[in-house]
Amino acid sequence: MKFSSTLTTMTALVLAATLAQSALAADVKLGLAAALTGPAAKYGVAIKNGFTLATEEVNAKGGVNGNKLVLMVEDEQGKKEDAINVFKKLIFQDKALLVFGPTLSNSAFAADPIANAAKVVAFGTSNTADGITAMGPFTFRNSVMEADVLPVTTRAAVKHFGIKKVAIIYGNDDAFTKSGYDVFKATLAKQNIPVTTTEAYAKGDVDFKAQLTKIKASNPDAIVCSCLTEEAANIILQTRTLGMKQPFIGGNGLNSPKLFEIAKNAGDDTIMGSPWSAENLTPANKAFIAAYKAKFGSDPDQFAAQAYDALYIVAAALKTVKLTGALPADRVALRDALPAVKIEGATGDFTFRKAPEAGGKPVGYDAQQEAIVNIAKGGKFVLLK
């Protein structure tokens, strides 16, 4: 009798303690939809690494307001359909407070409307296509738009090489490379640089010699390449086997050590604009690069850097939010807190900027950041002075 009452008391005490604990500190569940398999896995894995690193750092320092962050990672395979499914799972089944991702702009256009309908923030860290944040007020991204970066890059390249006319090559079946092409086209028109010829290729193409031979015949001073890293590297190599010496101008897609693993020094003189550079020696970036190398044994890229910063942006917003445990209210509260965040991250000073209004519909927030212009020298990107 006595024994059992002790037991009851103890159980009650333990229970009360647990409840008290959970009222004070709860897990904050953050979803991440990333392409961990499939052709986009190289970006998705870097993104997952960036988030993992930042989450561990935040938790090691005691979390946010005493709450531990829990990252729930799901593979969306770089496909629209899977991005939709993963978003649904993270939002409705796993009850994530917010969802990061998906990796590709293509997938974001498919999945973000689900988050907006459910009033959950969809936070892209790698979606740079135009119109992503016009999808709804719950769409955020810290990936800097090509429209902000490429004009700065192009102007710097024109000045550096004394360029009079350029040729363009781009992937015409990918939202990211196509959108980069559109921006380049508008930029070149605005800056009065004539285009000698515009060539396209499709996903999976490996032989670009036909297009490049045509570009060679049009005799441009430089080649503008709205491409992903691996295609860009092969395009650069193939131009050299055709005896072409023109420098390349590119965007975010070229910002990866992979470019030089494949193209080696053939990629020298390539000019690339990006919000992040390994050569940007701010304390925050140096700390990020060192921590990333220590944890994963490899150099981070821009995708890892932007993912890393995104977690810190959300952590900063969470600091100002009083979580009630009522999921719908908390989700909206987090959304309302995000636009005011200002941090200095691996990619530099970061703030949000409201997306341009589109047809009177409420819109989300884009990144407001400075572009860093780099030039390839000796098989790596250095800052262009």
């Binding site: 398999t37 499709a202 999976g204 032989d207 036909a210 031979t213 691996e230 055709l242």
Partner: protein, 293 residues
Amino acid sequence: MLEQQLINALTLGSVYALFALGFTLVFGVLGVINLSHGAIFMLGSYVALMLVEQLALPLWLAMLVAMLASGAIGLAVDYLVLRPLRKRNAPHLAPMIATIGVAIILTNLAQGLFGAENKRFPQGIIPENSFTFGSIHITAVQIGIVVISFVLMLVLLAVMRRTQLGRALRAIAESPKAAYLLGINVEGLFYLTSFAAAALGGAAGVLVGLSFNAITPFMGQPMLHKGIAVIILGGMGDIRGAMIAGLFLGFAEVLTVAYISSDFRDAVGFGLLFLILLVKPSGMFGKVLERKA
């Protein structure tokens, strides 16, 4: 520019032809559209890459071993997937669907083993010298591709036309039942065909890996699309037709880029396919079709 484009077209066309050769051989003899051919092509280039990287084999030996290894994979696919369906007299669609499954499994396997990233042959392995004639640039690899493709094509053609084995294969293509009654080891030759076709696919994989530096688990899929176009253009099961249609597709694509627009590169290739099917549903070499291989 035209001269250079013709060289580009010849290289590209040779690769298409070589890839389509094994593909059409299997159709001719086994009557099966083996959609795992693209995945086997992909594995061929990985095998050669591993041999060169891990065991430091010379390139020619790596390529030979890669052909044998792809052949063995093709044989395994035949034994494990196609043979049970043959035994059961499964309808025509069954082996086609089954080989889609095989392709997906092999692609995922390759991704698990080698990762999703592009791999390339180490520099220094590939002869990097190139030759310049006026405005034309040709690399040693391009010459190698054309020569190796043509040698393999001619060897296969000679075997089919001039040997007892070729006669037996053509007999099977005509009617497996009649061939069996004549005392031909039909099942054995099915295996041999699957082996040889996969070995040719593996060789094409190594050549593509060498020339374009983009070995990925996903490289088989786009090539498979071209391969399907080529064997239909050339007449299903026709070896000479596949060779000519492969070259034809290469030239069509490159000249489209040169004189129309790179946006229409694939559209023109497949548009031609559509046109030829309208005019001559059995492909460019329709007559030969009746004889198949």
